[in-house]
Amino acid sequence: MDVDLPYRVVSVADLSGHDDRAWHVAWNPAKPLLATCSADKSVRIYAYTPDPSPNFVLHTSIPTGHTKTVRGIAWSPSGHTLATASFDANIGIWQREDQDDAGEAVGGEWECVTILEGHETECKSVAWSPTGTFLASCSRDKTVWVWEAQPDADFECMGVLMEHTQDVKCVAWHPREEILASASYDDSIKLYLDDPSEDWFCFTTLTGHASTVWSLAWAPNGQYLASASDDRTVRIWKRITEHEWKCVLVLEEHGRTVYSVTWGVGKPGKTDSGSESLGWLASTGGDGRINVWAFEESPEATNKRPPKSRLIARLENAHGVNDVNSIAWCPRKGYEDLIATVGDDGVAKVWKVASV
């Protein structure tokens, strides 16, 4: 434990229940719900009470019907819909049975409203675009699919992007613009745009990682992208011009594969030094360690200068001896200091990043 760091990672909740490795965790952006998925093919959803001492209880456990591991989950921006990505190559779309006219759930079970088929092998990640218009998915079949969400849980495939030469591990949408990023076993990251007259296309490839890129996280201001890799580093990529991104920082604070990275708002606004806060980045992986960084940028920062980064908290053995597979900041207002993790122990944990 580093005693000289200004923040601590404090345990808030320990949520066991999965019978096998838990792969991914996702906070509902609109409602007090937290979802986890596992090799046991189930999704567990927890509800929590308001801060300052949120209490987590199991809301429901969904058996899903996927025939293999549920590898990834994603909530739509409205919080009404959950997407599941499974090793059975399918994507499940889930909503609560009883919704009122505004789409607000008034009760009932979570049911599978549609299944998106198309990938040939294991589906590894799903992500909703910031407006909820698009859903992206990726697979070991080396492709990234962009689906358009239409009324009545109908989805149309708008493009199949075959840019990577190996498995695609992760997809992530820019927080405001319709820019999609994908990370791969081929060690690269690709960024895509929709050409109004043509199809989706890859406009740049980011290389530099020495091994598989497992996870991506955009900065809340959209000017940076973080990537986590099997090369044990986290890289920070900066937007130099509209379509040009450059690696400006390599963070080496992990001893094994970095499986997951998440970028939250942290403490927004001006910092003590007058710089603009870029939020807090948290990473975790095979070494069981959680690292939290604060990023800031001085107003006179030039384009190619890296942001100022500071490791502000660290926790060893977050899930005992087990790998930690996923980490996520709570996106809801008032809960920005909460992070959730899941690990090979099948446990979901919630943490608060608090000043010492």
Binding site: R21, A39, K68, T69, R71, F87, T121, E122, K124, R140, D167, K169, Y185, S211, T212, D230, R256, G286, V321, N322, D323, D344
Partner: protein, 166 residues
């Protein structure tokens, strides 16, 4: 599975006594007191080797990985919470290498305490696709997906049937 023969005439070596069992008998200790028993001796390279030496070779099922010199005790490195196993494919173009590596990984996953992080690699210079084989064997997502493939698991179980014999 692939019916192609990669090494029709492998060299077979004489095998030795199981090291750890010999020692265990002398000390009247069970070799299998591995889980969370802090009083037991730390696990060493010989014990790890004992766990994997009798796995059958997927190409020559009647022979063990030890007999074909694919695995050996000096190729196992143990530190407190980490195990590195190097193995040597019998020929540099061996198409069974990922399957051999996977069988070693599964055997260790099933028998060792979870605190061990396990890395499995082919001996440097021993395989023409060394990097690709190593990368696949150490990608936990690929390993997890492979273990949900019934056809592959059947082959693995056949190789692992003999693993507990000594």
């Amino acid at each position: 599975m692939d019916s192609q023969i990669f090494n029709p005439n492998p060299t077979i070596i004489a095998t030795t006594q199981p090291i750890a069992r010999r020692r265990a008998t002398q000390a009247k200790l069970s070799l299998w007191l591995l889980d969370g028993d802090d009083d037991s001796k730390p696990i060493d390279a010989d014990e790890v080797f004992d766990l994997i030496r009798s796995i059958s070779d997927p190409e020559h099922r009647s022979m063990t990985l030890e007999q074909l010199a694919v695995v050996s005790a000096p190729q196992v490195t143990v530190t407190p919470n980490h195990i590195l196993v190097e193995f040597t494919p019998t020929v540099p173009h061996c198409g069974m290498s990922t399957l051999i590596g996977l069988s070693i990984r599964v055997r260790l996953l099933r028998t060792l305490p979870t605190r061990f992080k396990i890395d499995i690699r082919v001996k440097p210079g021993s395989h023409q696709s060394e990097h690709a084989v190593n990368k696949q064997l150490n990608d936990k997502e690929r390993v997890a997906a492979a273990l949900e493939n019934p056809a592959l698991v059947d082959v693995l179980e056949t190789c692992l049937e003999s693993a507990g014999r000594r």
